[in-house]
C-alpha cells in the first residue's frame, strides 16, 4: 500500500486539526491547573490526620483511579444534567471531568511530594512561629511543588494524550481532527501516521522542555 501524500496539505491542518489542537491544549492547561489545585487540597486532606477529611479524600482518589477515564467522561456527561437539572455541553463536561479525574492523580503526586519534605522542615517552620497555613504556603508546598515538577509535568503529557478520549461524548480534540479528516477523505492510514508524528513531536518537545525547566528552577542542594 502506498501513502497518498496529497492528503497532507495545509487544509488538513487548518480545517480539521487546528480546532482540535486548540481544544486539546485548552483542556490540558485547564485540567492541569485545576487538577493541581484540587489535587493539592485532596493531598492535604489525606495528610491532615483527621479521619473525617482523610477518608472521603481517600475514597475519592482511589475511586477515580480505578475507573477508566472514558467511563468517567461518560458518567459526568450522563449524570451531571440529572443533578443540576439542565444539560451541559460536551466541552464543559469534558473540562469538569478532566479536572475532577486528574485531581486524583495530581493529589497522589503532591502527597508524595509533601511527604518527601523532611519532617524537620515542618518543625523549623513551626519553631519560627508559623501557623499551619503559613507553614504549608511558605515552606512545604513551594518545595513539594518544585521537587515534583517533573512528575507533575509528565502527568500533564499523559493528560494531553488522554484528551483524545473525549471522543466518547463528541467533543472535538486533535486526534478526532485527524480521524475525521481521514474518514471523510478515505485516507485513515495517512491520517493516523500524521497523528502519530504530531503527538510525538508535541509530547517530546514538552518533555524536553520539562527537563530544561526543571534544571532551571530545581532547588539547589
Amino acid at each position: 500500500m502506498q501513502i497518498d501524500l496529497s492528503f497532507y496539505n495545509w487544509n488538513l491542518i487548518s480545517d480539521f486539526v487546528l480546532k482540535g489542537l486548540g481544544f486539546s491544549l485548552m483542556l490540558t492547561v485547564v485540567a492541569t491547573v485545576g487538577g493541581v489545585l484540587l489535587g493539592t487540597v485532596l493531598a492535604l486532606m489525606r495528610l491532615s490526620g483527621r479521619k473525617w477529611l482523610d477518608v472521603p479524600a481517600t475514597i475519592y482518589v482511589n475511586g477515580m483511579r480505578s475507573i477508566p477515564l472514558v467511563m468517567v467522561i461518560l458518567w459526568v456527561f450522563l449524570l451531571a444534567p440529572m443533578l443540576i437539572g439542565r444539560p451541559i455541553g460536551a466541552e464543559l463536561s469534558a473540562i469538569v471531568t478532566f479536572v475532577a479525574f486528574e485531581a486524583a492523580y495530581f493529589s497522589e503526586i503532591m502527597r508524595a511530594g509533601i511527604q518527601a519534605i523532611p519532617r524537620g522542615q515542618i518543625f523549623a517552620g513551626q519553631a519560627l512561629g508559623m501557623t499551619y497555613g503559613q507553614n504549608m504556603r511558605l515552606v512545604v508546598l513551594p518545595q513539594a511543588f518544585r521537587n515534583m515538577l517533573p512528575v507533575l509535568l509528565t502527568q500533564t503529557i499523559i493528560l494531553f494524550q488522554d484528551t483524545s478520549l473525549v471522543y466518547a461524548i463528541g467533543a472535538y480534540d486533535m486526534l478526532k481532527g485527524f480521524e475525521v479528516a481521514g474518514k471523510n477523505f478515505g485516507r485513515p492510514i495517512e491520517a493516523y501516521l500524521a497523528a502519530a508524528v504530531c503527538y510525538f513531536i508535541i509530547c517530546y518537545a514538552l518533555s524536553w522542555a520539562v527537563k530544561r525547566l526543571h534544571r532551571k528552577i530545581a532547588i539547589i542542594r
Binding site: 523532611p118 524537620g120 522542615q121 518543625f123 523549623a124 517552620g125 513551626q126 519553631a127 519560627l128 512561629g129 508559623m130 501557623t131 503559613q134 511558605l138 515552606v139 513551594p142 518545595q143 518544585r146 532547588i219 539547589i220 542542594r221
Partner: protein, 245 residues
C-alpha cells in the same frame, strides 16, 4: 524562664519521656546529653510545643504550653530553635530565610526585617553569603545561618538539638564558637550536644537522660565532670565511652 513539671509522653505504647521535671532560669546555659534514643530531641521539642505531651505541665516565660488556649505560634516566634540538620528552607535565599518569618509572623516591614536579619548574619560572620542559597553553603555555614535566623526573631531563649553532630569535624569549631559567644552574652540556652568541650566551657548545668526518657542527672557542670563518684553508674559508663576516644 522554662519550667517542666512531671512531663510524660508516649508514642503509642512506647514511653519516650518519663516524669521529667526541670527548671531553667534566665541566662542559664543547660546542656542535655545521653545515649541515642533517650528522648533528648523529644524533650527539647516539647519545650517548643512541637510535640504534644500526654501528661505534665510546661511553662515558657510564664506561658503554660499545656493550656489549649495558648497561642502557640505566637509563643514559638520568640523561642529560637536550631536543628541537627539545619533545616534552612532550601528554596529561599539566605536573606529570605532570615526575613520570611519576621515578615509573615512578627509582621515586621520587609526593610526592617532585612536590616535585622543581615545584622545577625554579620554577627555569625557570613555577610558575604547573603544572596546564596542554602545548598551552596557548607554544613558549618548553613548551621550558622540557622542560628542567625533564630536570633533575628529576638528570641528570649535558644534551643539547640545536636547542632554540630551533622557537621564535618573541621566545621564543628566554627559553630561552637558562635554558640560560646551567645552563652557569654547571657542568652538563655538549652542545648542537646555531646561536645563535652563546649559543656565544660559554658554550661551552668548538665542534664543527663537515659533510655525511656528519664532524667538521671540534673547537676552543675562542676558536679557532673569533677565528681564522678556522686554520679549514677549509667552516667559514668556513658561518660567513659564518649570521652574514651
Amino acid at each position: 524562664m522554662i519550667e517542666l513539671k512531671n512531663v510524660s509522653k508516649w508514642y503509642g505504647n512506647y514511653q519516650v519521656l518519663t516524669d521529667c521535671s526541670a527548671r531553667i532560669g534566665r541566662g542559664e546555659v543547660v546542656v542535655v546529653c545521653g545515649p541515642s534514643g533517650s528522648g533528648k530531641s523529644t524533650l527539647i521539642k516539647t519545650i517548643n510545643a512541637l510535640e504534644p505531651i500526654q501528661s505534665g505541665e510546661i511553662w515558657v516565660d510564664r506561658v503554660p504550653l499545656h493550656d489549649p488556649h495558648t497561642n502557640l505560634p505566637k509563643l514559638r516566634a520568640h523561642v529560637g530553635m536550631v536543628f541537627q540538620h539545619f533545616e534552612l528552607f532550601p528554596h529561599l535565599s539566605v536573606t529570605e530565610n532570615l526575613t520570611i518569618a519576621q515578615i509573615k509572623v512578627l509582621g515586621r516591614a520587609p526593610d526592617e526585617a532585612k536590616q535585622r536579619g543581615l545584622k545577625m548574619l554579620d554577627r555569625v560572620g557570613l555577610m558575604a553569603h547573603k544572596d546564596k542559597f542554602p545548598g551552596q553553603l557548607s554544613g558549618g555555614q548553613q548551621q550558622r545561618v540557622a542560628i542567625a535566623r533564630a536570633l533575628s526573631m529576638d528570641p528570649i531563649v535558644m534551643l539547640f538539638d545536636e547542632p554540630t553532630s551533622a557537621l564535618d569535624p573541621e566545621m564543628v569549631g566554627e559553630v561552637l564558637d558562635v554558640m560560646v559567644g551567645l552563652a557569654q552574652e547571657g542568652m538563655t540556652m538549652m542545648c542537646v550536644t555531646h561536645e563535652m568541650g563546649f559543656a565544660r566551657k559554658v554550661a551552668s548545668r548538665v542534664i543527663f537522660m537515659d533510655v525511656g526518657g528519664k532524667i538521671l542527672e540534673d547537676c552543675s557542670k562542676d558536679d557532673f565532670f569533677n565528681h564522678p563518684e556522686a554520679r549514677q553508674p549509667r552516667t559514668k559508663e556513658f561518660l567513659n565511652k564518649i570521652l574514651q576516644h
